[in-house]
Amino acid sequence: MLAAVHRLPGAPLLSSILGRLGFSQRAIVVAVPYLWLIAFFAVPFVIVLKISFAESIIARPPFTPLFGEHGIDLRTKSYSYLFHDALYLRAYIHSGKVALISTLLCLLLGYPMAYGMARARSTLRTALLMLVILPFWTSFLIRVYAWIGILKNNGVINNILIWLGIIHEPIGMMNTDFAVYIGIVYNYLPFMILPLYANLEKMDVSLLEAAFDLGCRPLKAFFVITVPLSLPGIIAGCMLVFIPAVGEYVIPELLGGPNSLMIGRVLVNEFFENHDWPVASAVAIAVLLLLVVPLMIFQHYQNKQAGSAA
């Protein structure tokens, strides 16, 4: 079936016409995804940036135009708003804190798991890897939902503890930061484990043997050989958890209390409830600024990995 595709008159004909116009086949192949990404990834950011410098008005669209009657009309009201209303600063700091703590928890749980998987027998290894990936194929929303049933006052944990007689009053776990941490760690754990596993699995075991042979004890060898060598995996895993966690919306919305204001929630509220597009855009830009460094680290790692694969 595939073999028949090249016989379609379209593709070669198009390429030869474009070729005569001075476009190489290579340029065409590059142009299609490039233009798509520019149109639907790059341009939208420019628009967000533009709107963040407007002011909210009651009109359609609900913001002041960039090219007003008196030339370019840049207004920084949205940004000054971000700095003057303590709510935004709190949400900002809180998002960073939640993302950071969840990332560390993921690392703490994920590293030994990835290590154990990488050192397991090869038959077992495939099965364990499958088990880590499997939840990813089920719905994200449902995985968050599952924790409501476990954490709430008449949920699984409280019911069991009361039934065992350990407690008499349910512990309030739902609608707390604790629930948010659980939710993030639960959902993002595979993103931590997979790059770590990929890294640890490639590691040459004879390096550790050489360290033992030279008189290094196992625990020390782990910290001076294994951990430094797995640093790229650690960084990749942490970035894969930290960056999306900062802007997480669903988990704090469903599991967190009204006080666990994270920046993603603020953005959605500004946009959908207050209909303040400029402030929502300014919040988005501010989040991006917070994430520039982690994003660049991630990019750097991606490029390096792509380079070594080739």
Partner: protein, 279 residues
């Protein structure tokens, strides 16, 4: 396991309990008669029957599947091209920017991607009058844009590991570049494209935030329905739906595992054949 300390094994076991416990509890309580979900009131399949009569859910499922199939297919085409470019075209103007645009959506917080796409669609409608309103089309465009990154990453690594001399050999034997791609390259990487498609399809089916930003009245996807109900608290119908999803995924994984095992057996037989033939 060789030389694994008990601590590591214990964490591994606990980790997997942590990963699977909530899913198991979802499944168990989906068969609960009680509407209170987590308070056991006897076995029942009542919620499944109710779910299958729920037209709002069924409509949402159908919409989600259509969007998923369309966006997975298009994102496979774009993502395969992007992966090929990243793996094979070492130098061209704007390669770094291109690489950044391909991988950034992988980690970009969804609220930002969603907001920026919505603002784009609104601006486009104001300026060029297209797309008119938001719905199927805008959701599909949004999904293609962020799922193509996943496909691109999968395909980049596949193309990087593909021996370039296979393509050179085909050219050397007289096949033109287009033909080489369709007759040699594409069939060889086809399994990777297939897994890229599945990945894109799953992510598209699952997405809530970006979809909420880019959808309009009348286009409510399954995650949107689930979210609006879950917000109000536990809902036994959702448990039933979760169970169905888990079963489907488990079935899919089982089939693919069996298929892989069969393939592996065949491979072993082939190796044996090759060794035999050598004598």
């Amino acid at each position: 396991m060789k030389n694994l300390s008990w601590a590591v094994i214990a964490i591994l076991v606990l980790g997997f309990i942590f990963l699977y416990g909530p899913i198991v509890s979802l499944v168990i309580f989906s068969f609960n008669t009680s509407k209170l979900v987590t308070v056991w009131g006897g076995f029942s399949t009542h919620w499944y029957a109710q779910l299958l009569r729920d037209t709002e859910v069924l409509d949402a499922v159908s919409l989600s599947l259509r969007i998923g199939a369309l966006s997975a297919t298009l994102s496979c085409i774009l993502g395969t091209m992007a992966g090929y470019i990243l793996a094979r075209f070492r130098i061209f103007t704007g390669r770094i920017i291109f690489g950044g645009m391909v991988t950034a959506p992988l980690v970009m917080p969804e609220v930002i991607t969603g907001l920026s796409l919505l603002l784009l669609f609104v601006s486009m409608e104001d300026i060029v009058g297209w797309p008119r309103g938001r719905g199927f089309l805008t959701i599909a465009i949004a999904h293609i844009t962020f799922t193509m990154s996943y496909v691109a990453v999968v395909m980049q690594s596949r193309f990087s590991s593909l021996d370039i001399s296979l393509e050179e050999a085909a050219q050397d034997l007289g096949a033109r570049p287009w033909k080489v791609f369709f007759v040699i390259t594409l069939p060889i990487v086809f399994p990777a494209i297939l897994s890229g498609w599945l990945l894109a399809f799953t992510i598209s089916l699952d997405d809530l935030v970006i979809t909420s930003f880019t959808s309009g009245p009348g286009s409510t996807t399954l995650p949107m329905v689930i979210f609006s109900r879950v917000r109000l608290g536990l809902n036994p119908e959702i448990n039933a739906m979760a169970t169905i999803i888990v079963m489907l995924v488990a079935l899919g994984v089982m089939v693919s595992t069996l298929w892989l095992a069969y393939k592996e057996k065949q491979r072993q037989r082939d190796i044996h054949l090759a060794i035999q033939a050598n004598q």
